[in-house]
Every structure is written in structure tokens, then in C-alpha cells.
Amino acid sequence: VPAKPRADDEQAWDLSPPELLAPARFALDMYNYGRAAGMRAVLGAVRGRVRRVGRGSLFSLEATMEEPPCNDPLVCLLPVTKKTMLCSFEVLDELGKHMLLRRDCGPVNTKATEYGNETFSSFLPMLNKDPLPQDFSVKMATVFEDFMKTYNRTYESKEETQWRLTVFTRNMVRAQKIQALDRGTAQYGITKFSDLTEEEFYTIYLNPLLQKEPGRKMSLAKPVDDL
């Protein structure tokens, strides 16, 4: 039972586990999205708070995720141990529809976090505290529909569409943070890559060899003023 009545939009209050079930299950589904059966993490401990945002509720969850042990000796690092991840999620529940706004995960007992997810937190904590506009998820869904039309996107299933909407929403927040930190005149926002996770974008479009391999040594060019 909430410790306080749901009257004050600014107040957050702690939740009992039953109330966390729906948002935590949604966060877990999103965490496991795309994984094969047997490779999915299971929810460990979970605690959370909620605050009212417009017509919805914003859940801030902290949860441990128990990753399955690695069974492939060609892939696993030794010694094989069960890995526990500590995650914080922000899940918006608006009119019964859930949307994952933030996901930061890292191994328990280390400060390392998932690639890129925490990059900005220390710079812009205020962005995580700003209240969300009313009907945020509805507006974001409309923007996402426009994106799909503009870039001719189709997805294989309802689940994938939901997942891409979640990625798109998180990316809009990321673009906003990049914008805030840019010292030039650049504008960041929706591009044809806005429905890709950072990891997908890196894997598909970028070139990791540039930082890993030295390449062939070339002779130095003569400066033009020597010509």
C-alpha cells in the first residue's frame, strides 16, 4: 500500500512488492528482449518508488537480474559463475500502457556499467529529475509513427514494434543529452538510425578495427610549404 495518498505530483513514495510486479515484469521483458529461451535472465530482488506524472505513474526500480550460467566452453570465461546484474529502470505506466524510459545495468559489486548507458549521468543528473510532460508516451508514439513513415520502417511483430518504440524513446533522451553537451552549433535529434540501440549502431555501421589494429606504417607526406 502506498505510504502516502496519490495527490502530490512531486512526491515519490516506496512501494510494496505486489505493486512492483507489473512494471518489474515489463522491465524484465524488455531486458530479455531478443534472447532465446534458456538465455534469459530472471528477476532477483526488486524495490522501487513511484511518482505521479501527468496521467500516468513513473516507476523507478532497482532490481537484480540473475543471468543464466554460460554453458558453452568455447565462449565462457573461466571460472564459470552465475552473474548478477544490478539494474535501475524507469518505467512509465500511462493508462495501463508501459514504456521503458531508462535502463542502466552493471555487474554487482563493480562500478562498470553497460556500454555507454551511464555516460551522461554524472554530467546531467537534472535531466533524470525533470518532470515528464503530460501524455508523454502518447506523444512519443506519435513521433515514432512519423519516424516509421519517414524512413519506411516495418517491423516483424507487435513485440518488435514495442521494443523499437522503447529504443526510440531512450534514443530521444540520449540525443537531448548529447545536444546539451555539445559546444558547437550542431543539432541532434531524429535520424534514420533512431530506432537502433547504441550497440546495434556500433556493430552494424562502425569500424572497430580502427582502434584495435595499428595498420601498415606509411611514410610521412612532405609538408606543402616544402614543395
Binding site: 553537451l181 550542431a186 543539432q187 555501421y205 578495427l209 607526406a221 609538408p223
Partner: protein, 214 residues
């Protein structure tokens, strides 16, 4: 260096291309450089084949990435580059079908350029577009304007994208490099990225190189 320069206005740069879902930026960066060198030394602008490099440069890893320095060697050893029309881009690796008879351009050598951005600008203005590699931080969401990310977020040590410097100048007193990207013309400023010039932003000065055409 002159205060500004743009090889696009001088006919040394082909249209923006699209690497598709393939990490072949290294091939586009190198062919763009060779296109410019060939134009400046032989007088003809030809759109050259990246697919030839994906298929026939066995030192590099096609869509999994590659290095411009290796690609220059491959072009030299193969005996040149075919044109885009003769050996068109597929976006995935295929069997090498390069034919020396169809090759339209050759290179004699390749060189590494200075890490000093003023010297890079002087070299560019006199000698042509430059192949560089940068940290692609923020480019997933870049739309227009001059990008100048904070240095800790765009480290020069984490280079992951090869592109082509085609010009430089100032917009409202902000110095920039004009960079030809290979993500199609429906990204950025009609396919171009503008990056702050003068502070080694995103490692733009760390891996500058060019082919040599005599």
C-alpha cells in the same frame, strides 16, 4: 592555408554514397581520397568501386571493418580500382572479381599526413581531400551544424569511423571541417558532417592519410 576551401565546388568530389548495413566506411574513405587524387592529377572525376576493396582486399575485413593504410596497399597490389559502374556496391562481401583490364585508376603510393590541423588544412587546399578516421560519438543523432562534443565524450583514442575531409572554413566564427560521410544523403547535411576544427575534436587529426598518384 587559405581561410577556407571546398573541393566540392571544384568538382573533385563524387556524390554521397551509402555503405548500407555494413562497416565498410574505410573503403568509402579511401575511394573518396583516390577519386580526388585522380581528379587533381589526371583531370577526370570517376566514381570508384568500394566493392572491389570489400571483396579483394584480404588484409581488411570487409563489413567488419578495415584500415585505410591496408586498403592503399591492396589497391596498389591489385593494380588499380575499377569504377562504381563496373564493380558496383552490394554491401556484403562477395568473391573477388577484379579485372586489371577494367581498372581505370591506379595509385603509386600512400602517405601519412601531419597531425597538426593547420598543416592538414594547408595540405588539403593544395593536394586534395584527405582520408581521416574519427570517433563517431553523437553521429547516430546528428542532423546539422558544427559538432563540437566535449573531449571526454569523444576521445581521440576511441576511433571507430573513417570518413573524408573535403573542405574547411568558418561559420559565424566557428572553424569547421566539411566531412563527406558514407551514410547516404538522407543523413546529416545532405550526407555531410561538420566538425569543429582546431582542437583535434574526436581524433580527426590522428589518422590522416592520402594516396599518391603521379
Amino acid at each position: 592555408a587559405p581561410p577556407e576551401w571546398d573541393w566540392r565546388k571544384k568538382g573533385a568530389v563524387t556524390e554521397v554514397k551509402d555503405q548500407g548495413m555494413c562497416g565498410s566506411c574505410w573503403a568509402f574513405s579511401v575511394t573518396g581520397n583516390v577519386e580526388g587524387q585522380w581528379f587533381l592529377n589526371q583531370g577526370t572525376l570517376l566514381s570508384l568501386s568500394e566493392q572491389e576493396l570489400l571483396d579483394c582486399d584480404k588484409t581488411d575485413k570487409a563489413c567488419l571493418g578495415g584500415l585505410p593504410s591496408n586498403a592503399y596497399t591492396a589497391i596498389k597490389n591489385l593494380g588499380g580500382l575499377e569504377t562504381e559502374d563496373d564493380y558496383s556496391y552490394q554491401g556484403h562481401v562477395q568473391t573477388c572479381s577484379f579485372s586489371a583490364q577494367r581498372a581505370k585508376v591506379y595509385i603509386n603510393d600512400s602517405v601519412e599526413l601531419s597531425k597538426n590541423e593547420n598543416k592538414m588544412a594547408a595540405w588539403l587546399a593544395q593536394k586534395g581531400p584527405i582520408s581521416v578516421a574519427i570517433n563517431a560519438f553523437g553521429m547516430q543523432f546528428y542532423r546539422h551544424g558544427i559538432a563540437h562534443p566535449l573531449r571526454p565524450l569523444c576521445s581521440p583514442w576511441l576511433i571507430d569511423h573513417a570518413v573524408l575531409l573535403v573542405g574547411y572554413g568558418n561559420r559565424s566564427n566557428t572553424p569547421y571541417w566539411a566531412i563527406k560521410n558514407s551514410w547516404g544523403s538522407n543523413w546529416g547535411e545532405e550526407g555531410y558532417y561538420y566538425l569543429y576544427r582546431g582542437s583535434g575534436a574526436c581524433g580527426v587529426n590522428t589518422m590522416a592519410s592520402s594516396a599518391v598518384v603521379n
